[in-house]
């Protein structure tokens, strides 16, 4: 008898609650486009934020709604973007791939350290102590904060302590731009091959004491390509809205501060640029 009461009570309660859940499920149902799940499945799940949305799911919602085009996702491959575009029946959109570029070429073989830094081994910590050990006030400190923060292994430090960006892996998420205490990274379309690899505001030979590849603000590049380049704050400023597919400005640069970046990661310097053959670290006072 006791068993029966228990069974009836619990069974009745189960049925009642099940009924309530069923009603709630029908009444309170929120329609969600099933395509969002599908599109999200096709996205790379990097959640990097390069598209401007907090993650891949909000971006998928925007795609389905039609606010965005799949091309905005720089992380997925060409095929992946086209797959999403054909699934949604929209244009893939032609977002030009952007990459992070470093405005410094002062590795240990060309730029001196005025002091020896001891303390926490991050760039941001070093920059707090009197600006860090580097002779040049604007130069890369080489402690590799950008390498550590990069989620895509696109940045590696070379033998001279300078970060090298792998253009194929870089998704232009902007984490390295954020983390660099000297603000040396910026995001640029890959077609920007003409590049000023220096951020020193110093004019004249003063910079050469600290770094052999610094910009001396001689203005030769601006003279050779007057429409393309202007000198601002002792640095060449390239107007990328003009035709910049030319190697003319780099030819007469005496230090190789303005360079041509090739597809395969090679850096082309002008014919007049000083040749750097030093393989080891540059010491204070060495010329």
């Amino acid at each position: 008898m006791t068993i029966l009461i228990a069974l009836l009570t619990l069974g009745g309660l189960t049925l009642l609650l099940a009924l309530m859940l069923t009603i709630a499920n029908k009444k309170l149902y929120v329609y969600e486009d099933p395509r969002i799940d599908v599109v999200e499945g096709m996205l790379p799940h990097a959640n990097c934020g390069a598209c401007g949305y907090p993650g891949c799911r909000p971006f998928a919602e925007a795609l389905v709604k039609g606010d965005m085009l799949p091309g905005k996702c720089t992380v997925s491959s060409e095929d992946g973007r086209n797959a999403i575009a054909s699934y949604l029946g929209v244009d893939a959109g032609s977002e030009e791939k952007q990459v992070a570029r470093l405005s410094c070429a002062g590795g240990l073989n060309v730029a001196i350290n005025r002091a020896k830094y001891e303390g926490l081994g991050t760039c941001r910590a070093e920059a707090l102590v009197s600006g860090g050990s580097k002779g040049c006030a604007w130069g890369c400190l080489g402690k590799g904060d950008c390498e550590r923060v990069c989620d895509f292994d696109a940045i590696s430090m070379n033998e001279f302590g300078l970060p090298v960006v792998d253009e194929a892996k870089c998704t232009a998420c902007g984490d390295c731009v954020e983390v660099c205490p000297k603000d040396l990274f910026s995001l640029h379309p890959v077609s920007h091959r003409l590049w000023v690899a220096c951020k020193s505001l110093e004019a004249g030979d003063a910079i050469l004491d600290d770094c052999e590849v610094g910009c001396t603000a001689c203005g030769k590049c601006a003279m050779d390509a007057p429409n393309l380049i202007t000198m601002a704050n002792n640095l060449p400023l390239i107007d990328y809205s003009k035709n910049h597919n030319t190697q003319v400005p780099i030819q007469r640069c005496p230090t190789g501060a303005i360079v041509w970046l090739e597809n395969n990661g090679n850096v082309v310097k002008g014919v007049e640029a000083k040749k750097i053959i030093r393989k080891g670290k540059k010491m204070l006072g060495e010329s």
């Binding site: 005025r114 002091a115 926490l120 910590a125 009197s130 006030a137």
Partner: protein
């Protein structure tokens, strides 16, 4: 009057003082360097605006740059000479800022241009403007514009004026010598400050290791001034504004608040002397007293050095040894280690401490936190540096700011000093504070946009 049992704050540390080598040496005038380098950003706030041009000849005391807004001070020429160029100059923060290269005339003298005097009968606003026009900033090291600090906000009342003669930093004897040699200027400055703030009572706080200065000042107190001298026990960081208020008035400045929230204004003793010396003549600040000491210096002493003298020249003149390892601008606890000798003396430089190769203990390995609690016992504002250090390591910046009140930390360095595991706690905190401030600014920018 000299009750040593209380009159101090809780926690704190006792680093070796090392003051006895310079505290008996009188202030000596320093020669003019062959080239004076004046950065325009010597204070907290907007950089000064240059009003001279290249090639112009200027006299000692002439205005070189005017204040750019309220949160800024002007710059005066420390020497008679010629403006060689206006260009970027290095400063201690490692940045390059706009500055003036001045070439003194050979045999240029000490005589200084005088401006419009500010009499004691002037109104508080006129006195504050006079203080700004004289280019006076906090000479204790922070270089905060003094006229901004003295401006009493609407609805607040200033009752106590604390003159900070604590000088708790090891090695430094700048304020000690100023109190012994410039007592009249200090009391003149106090008259101006009383007028400007409307305070009822003045207390000069001095640590017990400067008893001679305290006795000297007590003997000099003018009859008509409500001044008393309070000697407090030696402890670091007693010279910090908030600690000094706790030690002398016994009140605690609320978290995120200012001294005026407990009706107090704190002014450094050297700043007070500068006000008392400059305002009656309408002059601007041209030089300051700096203690140069440390094991690697042969001619240690207290020097009156023109602002803008290059550090390299200073070290040459005082006989620094060849194998310098570290140069601290300020004291060894809160000062900054210079990364380049090309910087120059600025208004906020209270001392230069130089160590040679053999005097500096090289950084050992950083060991894990053993949770001994030594830093918790040392922290003068009752934070938990141990927990904060662990959070900083894991980059939990939001938690540090909101749950553990990181932003109250004034980076005195007591926690790093006592840490047996060599954890660079203060560096962690400075880094974290910078990141938190940057994030806040970003959020602010986004909400405004």
């Amino acid at each position: 009057m000299f009750n040593l049992a209380k009159n101090t704050f809780k926690h704190g540390v006792h680093p070796p003082e090392n003051k006895e080598e310079t505290n008996r040496l009188p202030i000596r005038q320093f020669p003019f360097a062959p080239l004076i380098i004046l950065p325009m950003q010597q204070h907290i706030g907007n950089p000064s605006q240059i009003i001279v041009r290249e090639g112009q000849e200027v006299a000692r005391g002439q205005l070189l740059a005017k204040a750019n807004g309220y949160m800024s001070v002007p710059m005066h020429s420390p020497v008679s000479g010629k403006v060689r160029k206006i260009a970027n100059v290095p400063v201690i923060s490692g940045q390059m800022v706009q500055g003036i290269y001045l070439e003194p005339f050979p045999f240029s003298g000490q005589e200084t241009i005088e401006g419009k005097p500010i009499p004691l009968s002037a109104s508080p606003e006129e006195i504050l403007r006079g203080i700004q026009d004289a280019g006076i900033v906090g000479l204790g090291g922070a270089a905060f514009p003094t006229h901004v600090k003295l401006k009493i906000p609407e609805g607040k009342k200033c009752e106590y004026l604390l003159i900070n003669g604590i000088e708790c930093e090891p090695y430094l004897t700048t304020d000690h010598r100023v109190m012994l040699e410039q007592a009249d200027d200090i009391f003149m400055g106090i008259r101006y400050l009383l007028k400007a703030t409307g305070a009822k009572e003045v207390v000069i706080g001095i640590e017990a290791n400067k008893q001679d200065a305290a006795d000297h000042l007590v003997g000099k107190i003018p009859q008509d001034l409500p001044v008393r001298v309070q000697v407090v026990p030696v402890k670091y960081p007693q010279g910090a504004e908030k600690m000094l208020i706790t030690a002398i008035i016994g009140k605690e400045v609320p978290s995120g608040g200012l001294p005026i929230d407990v009706n107090t204004v704190v002014v450094n003793v050297a700043t007070t002397a500068e006000i008392g010396r400059l305002l009656p003549h309408g002059q601007g600040i041209q030089e300051r007293v700096i203690t140069i000491t440390g094991p690697a210096i042969s001619k240690k002493g207290n020097y009156l050095i023109p602002i803008g003298t290059p550090l390299r020249y200073v070290l040459e003149q005082v006989g620094a040894s060849k194998n310098i390892s570290e140069v601290f601008m300020g004291g060894p606890m809160m000062g900054v280690s210079a990364s380049s000798l090309d910087i120059s003396i600025v208004k906020g430089t209270s001392g230069i401490v130089v160590f040679g190769d053999n005097d500096v203990k090289k950084t050992d390995k950083i060991y894990p936190c053993i949770k001994c609690g030594a830093c918790v016992d040392a922290c003068p504002i009752f934070l938990n540096p141990s927990k904060l250090g662990i959070l900083a390591k894991f980059e939990a910046y939001d938690s540090m700011a909101e749950e553990y009140n990181l932003m109250d930390c004034f980076e005195c360095g007591s926690c790093s000093y006592v840490c047996p595991s060599n954890i660079p706690l203060v560096q962690y905190f400075r880094l974290s504070k910078g990141i938190i401030r940057k994030r806040k600014a970003n959020i602010q920018q986004k909400t405004n946009a």
